[in-house]
Amino acid sequence: MKNKKNLYTLISIVLVFLFLVYANKNFDSYQIRIMNLCAIYVILGLSMNLINGFTGLFSLGHAGFMAIGAYTTAILTMPLAVKESNFFLAPMAAPLNSIVWPFVPALLLGGLLSAAAAFVIGAPALRLKGDYLAIATLGFGEIIRILITNAQRVTNGALGLKGIPDTTNIWWTFGIAALTIVFMTLLINSSYGRAFKAIREDEIAAENMGISLFKHKMLAFIIGAFFAGIGGGLLGSLLGTVDPKPFNFMMTFNILFIIVLGGMGSITGTVISAFIVTISMEALRVLDSSINLGFMVIPGITGMRMVIYSLLLIVVIIYFRRGLMGTSEFSWDKAFEFFKRLPLSKGGAKNAVTKNK
């Protein structure tokens, strides 16, 4: 049975790979862009789920970490000529205006700087709990954005940076997303992961079991911030431009919606919902443009998409609080049970027993 399941996993990985090869060749640039966005939101969703879903720290500073990653990658990878044309108000600060790094080290440094910021922020903020932590991390996210807006000679301030090399393609995004999934799965199933979950369930009980609260909270926070920085770097390189405005609370809200819909504390749930949310956000653009029914034209209302979107969040949280997956993960057993409805097959029966407990 175990071998069979591994085989299924292998087959589905190959299928996803073949689909990507097909997509890369036949999809138009708009569709490929959406695919890239999906993969980036998988990375971002997983990084936020590690902090909010698995460790139970309600942190709202994600956009700030993404901004650090996006700016680091952008500043380091931009060709010198582009840098000069961007900084027409004031020249760029000294060492930065003469260095160009390859994509991967820049992306990694973006992640590391973002993790370093998390270290600095986390040391004081993680002593707080619940909604105090939420508002403090939100505050830190805003402070990062304000610092970026005011650091004219490093980040070009509110004008933002244009002409970032578009290194990001489907292989980078899906490759890094796959690495993130593997890393998160290993982490969650390790002793660290069990400690994270214990902290989420009951801090005091976890502490009594000898789990160092501060160390594990910091670890989750820093790892989450690292991947947020990587995701931000990929996003900047995909869009070709960064400016401080999009890294506001709205960005954090989008990722929060992904993990709430997928299930706080589920890796597969986050992956599925990252795809659903990203694709449906694009599909909902229909609402913003006018629809021609042949005999009549329904005028589009700009912004209607966001109204529906926020309404959906409220509906999900009131009626489907567990999200798609709750805290459980996808497994072949459950998938077979779901599709075949065979309660007496090995996997099905086992599941039935665990459910009855």
Partner: protein, 297 residues
């Protein structure tokens, strides 16, 4: 800095602080009773300015009628938000209610972009409030004095309501313990709705004054005041009404004085509040007036 300038900045700081205080009271009341950061409070504040704007600019009603209507409508809006998005989650984990509050906040904000367009509108100016007074060598808007007086009167009324009326006693009882309050025959849901209504109406007064003082209104205008007033509430000790007022004044005065004395830091004006928040959370998490809450296992 000359004495005149100092006086000018002080007056500005006091009137901004009074506005912060009015909005912060709504946060502190809701937090006191539900242990919830009402993320939608900033958006409720924003809606009140639009109610007043449409009453005066579109329906051409006299301002005193419009102000009363706007305050009532905003109160109703706050109670509706509570009924629809928070009441079904009363027994849910705290994070769920918080997420729901964030959802409501974005819903109202985006709906107002759809309904009123994202472009800022000019709030009507009313001579009685916005006229200039000459004080020695400086000119001051009448509003600068009206705002603190209105705040003081409302605060006195609120403190009377909470300490001397039946509804006020019910509010305090529910804030202490929902279950016991229910056993004492208090209608918990009604009391919570009333709290939201009063908090929202105070935010509406703040919103109208805000519109008169900074005559440009836009759907996104509620975000920053919303966050800052929550910070003011935390600063003063969340759950405490006098604390919220003190926090509002500290924040308003501090912000104006910082920008006035160090003009280089103007770009960091919004960061000031957050730095203050983090400092207070680190060194005195219960705030200036807050009580120590011990943790139950």
């Amino acid at each position: 800095m000359t004495f005149d300038m100092l006086l000018q900045h002080m007056l500005n700081g006091v009137s901004l602080g009074s506005l912060y205080a009015l909005i912060a009271i709504g946060y502190t009341m809701v937090y006191g009773i539900l242990r919830l950061i009402n993320f939608a409070h900033g958006e409720i504040f924003m809606m009140s300015t639009y109610f007043a704007f449409f009453g005066i600019a579109t329906f051409k009603m006299p301002w005193y009628v419009v102000f009363v209507l706007a305050i009532l409508l905003t109160g109703a809006l706050g109670m509706t938000a509570e009924r629809v998005a928070y009441r079904p989650l009363r027994d849910a984990p705290k994070i769920s209610i918080l997420i729901s509050a964030i959802g409501v906040s974005y819903f109202i904000q985006n709906l107002s972009i759809v309904l009123f367009s994202g472009r800022p509108k000019a709030f009507p100016q009313i001579e009685l409030f916005t006229g200039m007074l000459k004080m020695g060598n400086i000119y001051v808007q009448r509003l600068t004095f009206i705002i603190p007086v209105v705040t003081a009167v409302l605060l006195a009324a609120l403190i009377y309501l909470i300490s001397h009326t039946k509804n006020g006693i019910a509010m305090r009882a529910v804030a202490k313990d929902h279950e016991t309050a229910k056993l004492m025959g208090i209608d918990v849901n009604k009391t919570i709705a009333l709290t939201f209504g009063i908090g929202s109406m105070l935010a509406a007064v703040g919103g109208i004054m805000w519109g008169l003082k900074f005559p440009q209104i836009a759907p996104a205008m509620g975000i920053m005041p919303g966050l800052k007033c929550f910070i003011a509430a935390v600063l003063g000790g969340i759950g405490s009404i006098s604390g919220a007022v003190i926090g509002g004044f500290v924040l308003g005065l501090g912000e104006i004085m910082l920008v006035a004395s160090l003009p280089d830091l103007t770009g960091y004006r919004d960061a000031f509040a957050f730095v203050l928040l983090i400092l207070i959370l680190l060194f005195k998490p219960t705030g200036i007036m807050g009580e120590k809450i011990s943790e139950k296992v």
